[in-house]
Amino acid sequence: MSDRGEGGVVSLRGRRSERSQTTARELAHLSDEAVVALVARSDEQALAELYHRFGRLAYGLAFRILRDDALAQDAVQEAFLGVWRAAGRFTAERAKPSTWLLTLVHRRAVDLVRREERRRTEPLQAGTEPIGREAPDEAELATQRQTIREALRRLPAEQREAIELAYYGGYTQSELAERLGEPLGTIKSRMFTGLARLRDDLGEDTRVEVGPA
């Protein structure tokens, strides 16, 4: 608790600044849940803080799915606006804010990719973007990435394929069945078995998150 005052004071300075990011970091000591609660109070600064924590990841995800800067930005914006609109109904006990936000980003990106028929599944060229240099949670992000990547690698190839094509490619299960020339039931069970295995591998709580500890 870096910014704790005496006697139960929590400082949430509301100074407006030219660069909202600078201002946003004044909420850096709050938990993700607390930030979402402030977003529910129409607090722009809290929205900016949320962006600071997850914007880059959200954009990375949207961009991976959409392969288009403008569309990726649209998806991220819609997801954050979704949080803005509905934060008051978010129940902290039921999910991590990061899961919620990333789910919104994913859903939006997948909607767009289906509409635009832009989906591509080949990976970006290796090393397109160096990880490093910006936010302090870079190292943590890299670790998370390594963790999930290794877990994916441990999956049987066909389960991994189904999950990756669905999640990063935006394919529906029916499209996958067609594309892979397999019965729909096979695709369903690959996704289910693979995702269940991934869940167990990552730990039940899937404790992958960024933001301040």
Binding site: Q21, R94, K96, Y167, T206
Partner: protein, 234 residues
Amino acid sequence: MDNGSPHELSAAYALDALDGRELEAYETHLAGCEQCRDDVASFRATASALAYDVDLPPAPETLERRIISAARAERPNVVPLRQRLAIPTAAVGAVAAVAAIAIGIWAIHLSNSVDHQKSIRKDQKALIDVLSDCTKTPTEGSSGAVCVAPTEKAVLIADSLPAASPGKTYEAWVIAGKRNVQPAGLFRGGAGRKYVLLTKPVRPGTTVAVTLEKGGGVPAPTTAILLHAEVKPS
């Protein structure tokens, strides 16, 4: 045709791999299947972990500003930063209604996570609890407000009280009468807005006040009241 168990679809659903009628049918099923809702919640968490396996191109610099502007535009009465506790009452339109439905479905689908709950810092939670359901009374003397929850827990919001000089502290008081003045928390002040979770319940008809006292606080106020708010009887 596939006749697999609908339970199996929780994974596809969490991966957003259902659409059209499949999606509708599954959401109907979900409404009556607690097990599926639990599965979806945990699969959502797993699926969102996949988001971390992406290259991270720097997000465009303008995106944050764009989001904030759009957010502001959606709620014309959005509380500016300095009064952000005001409760927005504007309808946010059809788009928001859709989002509300989406979040409703979302909330139903997610299960409890005890660990997660534990991670919420207690004092922040108390503060947020109050702020998320409270009645606000503006202060007089200096800009601010007192927000009192139905539980009588209260948060004092002080805007722009200059930082207390060394050896001094602001002290909040809950005043229920001349002989009933209780110390209710210390704070430093300083630029911007301060939120002070008061240590005493604030009942209707009492007054919350702030004075500047010597460091460490005093049992009863010794200086002039800098700001105060009388909480109306309900």
